[in-house]
């Protein structure tokens, strides 16, 4: 009885600590980070990374595709492994799919911790895994034509840092 109660408590804590979202519509990073920060009173630091569609070159739009049966499950597993690896109070992973225009946010990762190093490293860890291991496929529109984007060697090198 005591064991199952403890197990339930652990599930609830894990639920609160992880906020993972796969969104079809634009989001406002500041609003999400504000709520995330308020959800973890007593924290020592919050580290946040926001990736946006770059406003350079001739890119007119970016599209991210996902796979219903794998993508969100994989993002949740990534959040869980960040929680297991670093001393965190909470982690948030938000990723867009669909067509995005330059300046729109694509991804948001935030980590709250008692001490800054864990928060910073957890965000770095999650971004490296989102780049080259999560179930997303990206294409960009240049001169009216869509072209798929291959992962870069640098992305794999970044991932390898985490062993």
């Amino acid at each position: 009885m005591a064991t199952s109660w403890l197990f339930c408590l652990q599930l609830v804590v894990a639920e609160l600590a992880c906020d993972v979202r796969l969104l079809a519509e634009p989001f406002v990073p500041g609003t999400l980070v504000g709520h995330f920060t308020n959800a973890h009173p007593g924290l020592g630091g919050v580290c946040t990374f926001v990736g946006e569609v770059r406003c350079d070159e001739a890119v007119e739009a970016l599209e991210l595709r996902h796979y219903e049966l794998l993508t969100l499950t994989g993002m949740t597993a990534l959040a869980d492994s960040a929680l297991a690896r670093f001393d965190l109070m909470g982690v948030m992973i938000v990723h867009r799919h669909g067509v995005m225009l330059p300046g729109e946010p694509i991804v948001l990762v935030a980590a709250a911790a008692r001490h800054r190093r864990d928060a910073i490293q957890a965000v770095d860890f999650a971004m490296d895994h989102l780049k080259s291991e999560s179930w997303f496929w990206k294409r960009e529109k240049v001169g009216g034509l869509w072209r798929w984007i291959e992962p870069r060697e640098q992305d794999f090198a970044d991932l390898a840092r985490w062993g």
Partner: protein, 80 residues
């Protein structure tokens, strides 16, 4: 009796569509036998992973497919 095939990323271009239903076949080789040559070549890229009903498959040749199974072909990812 059908299988659903899902083509992610650039494989959508090779297939000409993001997904298609095909007549059920129980082995992976039989599924490939029903596809266009160019598409089979694209799927043979060793970097392309296969998921059946959302589970990544290691041994494709050992698969026994059931009616209604969903096979997703997953080329290298590029997120973030």
């Amino acid at each position: 009796m059908t299988l659903k095939l899902v083509f992610l990323g650039r494989l959508e271009d090779a297939a000409g569509e993001p997904e298609r239903d095909v007549i059920h076949a129980s082995s992976y080789a039989q599924v490939l036998a029903g596809l266009e040559t160019d598409l089979v070549a694209a799927l043979a890229d060793p970097r392309v992973k296969l998921a059946v009903n959302g589970e990544i498959v290691g041994d494709r040749n050992g698969l026994v497919l059931a009616d209604g199974d969903e096979l997703a072909f997953l080329p290298p990812v590029s997120g973030g």
